[in-house]
Amino acid sequence: MTINDLNTILPLVVLAGWSVVVLLADLWIPKDRKGWTAALSAVGLVVVLGLTLARGGTVQKAFFGTVLVDGFALYLDIIFLVGGLAGIALAYDYLKRMELERGEYYPLLLIAISGMMLMTYANDLIIVFLALELLSLPLYIMAGFARFNLQSEEAALKYFLLGSFASGLVLYGVALLFGASGHTDLPGLVNTMRAGTGNQALFLFGAALLLVGFSFKTGIVPFHMWMPDVYQGAPSPATAFMSVGAKAAGFAALMRVFVTVFPSLSDDLTPILWALAAITMVVGNVLAISQKNIKRLLAYSSIAQSGYLLMAFVPYANAEVSSDSIAAMLFYLLAYTLTTFGAWAVIIQMEQQERRGLEVADYAGLGKRHPWLGLAMTIFMLSFTGVPLTLGFWGKFYLFSTAVEGGFVGLALIGLLTSVVSAFYYLRVVVVMYMQPGDPPVKQNRWVNLTALLAAAVVVGLAFIPGSVLDLALQAVLQLQ
């Protein structure tokens, strides 16, 4: 342990330290001035973002090789930090309006982001587990942040029980891998796998348990049951943040661990991944059709997006395709993040006291009364569907093409068909907004508005230069292997 080690993970150290500082500072901030806590947290995130960018994507190891900083980590960290800023922007006005304003929300958010960043650095399964818990525990609390609201409390308890269950499975998987090889560090596991000295049965069990655990976290069918209830019950800004953060972190762990360690298990794992991806796309999209509550609708949509991401992950062991497929997943995660935060920004402005204003029918007339919000929401729905001229289109395009490149044409076909199905429920929101009369009460707030419009602008803007974004993602991947 030297200063160099700390210097390598400086952004993470600053962020974690800052979360403690904000937690303490909040104790002396008066009740009607919680904006200060939010501002302090945002300043911290901006500073950490600056530090992250300044360090760049040079590969560095620290803490005896348990932590690895590279371009892959850089790419995802930027997503998490920008997501954190959006999370604060969405939360401030909402918490005040719903009388949930307590300063702890912001330090919790910072701690969760610390966990996500640690997950991207992980080069040792111990770190993977610690990061998983560090990001999950604050999210459980944030899901239950609306105290004495039964929906929120139930959501938190369900999320907690199933989330801990997933962590337990991951932990047992780590224990089995440790038993199979005598290593928890990824390079050591890789060497044992290459040499073929480890116990193959334990390896396979361990890998399967890790897969199941992370499937819970990322919402892959049949491990998705908690998602609709948790998404609906949790306060909307917390839902927005967890739907991006927890999913991206879960996929980050999958990519890092499976691509580096388990290529030789692909004979056994590929059919399982294939089936999981197919069933996730189908179930997520089909169940979304009948949803009337917009939060539940987005929950099932989020499940479907996990299916698309997993589809690109199926050929992970094919060395020729895997870097393309990881790059496509990173690209899609960016598109998903922007679109999700934008869509939730609109939902948060529509939500009224006591959870009214959350039905799809409540959106009637939004397009005419508030043209900018209506336009933004339309862009997000089109991006989720994957219609050209949005970032979501390119995201899906790259996902499908890597699936085809890897030889999984059938899977890509299922993806294409379910995308067509998804157009039905996404466009229903647009139709309701523009075609039906109504005057929805919108609680405008400049920060939430800014998030929505900025996200919409970026979703459209980046769609004109998808190549350079993909290049960034590809650079990130090159250092993964």
């Binding site: 111990i126 587990f129 801990s164 780590v174």
Partner: protein, 99 residues
Amino acid sequence: MPLAYYIGLSAVMFILGIMGVLLRRNALVVFMSLELIFNSANLLFITFASYYQLLAGQIMVFFVMTVAAAEVAVGLALMVEIFRTKNTINIDQMSQMKG
């Protein structure tokens, strides 16, 4: 004693934990089953740590115990809150949301 005994005990604890999570309806009992899963993994870590003569496994157990304590704090707090509003922590009656 042979390694297989410890692995077997750990596997039994793990399966019991999973069955507890899936079958029991009291949130507190489910939570105890989760702890059982964590501790079965701990047993496995200790076993292999002594088998390979590696400290990494024992250190992992320290981390797991700390994490489990943090989970206890969060989980019990959630259960106390929900008991105050609802007077039950039966997970079958958590049905505010449907669809």
